[in-house]
């Protein structure tokens, strides 16, 4: 394996861990607002559900942050969940997935 592939791999692995460092605190504030206000339009401001399912931590048990980020980025075809990739980077989606798993109330 060439060195560049190793580099790319290690970057891939490191990216999610470095997520919150890569997002400015202004952008984190925007993302939090987006999560509560805009995701909240369908999932409830307290993530207790609406047109979309509840996203409180105990409802997400067994779901990984990777899985949640992929749903955020690519949506769920055939449902009302849209792909957010045009508006969010993978790092940002991962940050939001982590927020959901922690619970947004904190």
């Amino acid at each position: 394996m060439t060195r560049s592939v190793w580099l790319a791999l290690s970057l891939l692995i490191a990216a999610p861990l470095a997520a919150s460092d890569d997002i400015s605190s202004d952008r984190q504030r925007e993302l939090r607002n987006l999560l509560i206000q805009d995701c909240g339009s369908c999932h409830g401001l307290k993530m207790r559900g609406g047109l979309g399912p509840a996203l409180v931590p105990h409802m997400l048990q067994g779901k990984s942050a990777d899985y949640l980020s992929s749903v955020i980025l690519d949506g769920r075809p055939g449902t009302a969940m849209p792909p957010w990739r045009p508006l969010l980077s993978p790092v940002e989606a991962r940050w939001m997935a982590d927020m959901l798993l922690q619970g947004i109330a904190q």
Binding site: L34, D38, S41, G44, A80, L87
Partner: protein
Amino acid sequence: MNRFSCCFLLALLSGSTAAARGTGDLGLFVERASGSVQIIETSGNTSIGRIEGLGDLSHASVVYSRDARYAYLFGRDGGLSKLDILDVELSGRTLQSGNSIGGAISQDGRLVAVSNYKPGGVKVFHADTLELVADIPATFGDAGQLSKVIGLVDAPGQKFVFALWDAGEIWVLDMSDLANPSIEKFTGIGRNPYDALITPDGRYYIAGLFGEDGMALLDLWNPAAGVTRILPNYGKGEQKLPVYKMPHLEGWAVAGDLAFVPAVGRHEVLVINMRTWQEAARIKVHGQPIFVMARPDGRQVWVNFALPDNDTIQVIDTQALAVIRQLKPGKGVLHMEFEPRGEEVWLSVRDENRVEIYDTSTFERKSSIPATKPSGIFFTSRAHRIGL
């Protein structure tokens, strides 16, 4: 008259003068994150006060009692609150379900109905006491599943009409005999109705479909004719954009024979000829429309948009069928409400924490009211309109 009784009389007089006030220029807006509303008046464009402790108000909406004193507020968390807007206080509240989406008030003003996501169905309450009158689970399929209910409106004849998101059905609930509510069901109306409206004359109920193209139309004057599909070919085979917010079909933007509705997943407003129910035009707009609302005289239609274009408003001239103005009130323009005769419009600008008031002829901002994450705005002029 002695001095004491004179003072007493004066106090009585001044007391009653202070209390006497009409409600025709009152209204409220929802502060969705803090679970509160601000009561406002549109003569001087001021805030009168705030009522707090109303729960999760994402997507909260309001209908008014026929005396236009009480607002019934439908909260996301299933809370039904009765607000006295004259005395600016909560006068009743019940947690009637786990998760609700909206409601309606009956023709005679005596019943308030709520549409629920969980458990899916409609509950009907006495408007005075908020006591339960009828519980209508939205069951469908062989296994008796419950559907989320959307697009609940009142209709003439003590009826409520609503649609079932999961089942693709429209139900007409007749409450004229309180002890024996009757339901007429229309099945197979299309996949995932997301919202619905009734025309201002109470005749046509129209549900927008998220799961497929077109809209489902029910003529309440001729229910035996069943539900027909309108705009069936609209958008077939075209790639839709991601829908970051469901459009709303609140009210009915009508000018002459033309109706204006938001297209789903497209940067367009659809114009429908209401005589033929055919598409009359498509107007290109700035983003995906959410609310498409006519000024009360029908000369203008104001449009707001989903993310990432929710900082913008566009105004359509209904004669020219063209956008004549673009405004940038700020990030998160969620809702708009015209004053009863349309000379001013109120806009909630969520992320700027302001409600803005614009002149609809000059398009100038006239005033601004500080608010906490404002969303829906509702004026008492709705009290006397069918379907609102």
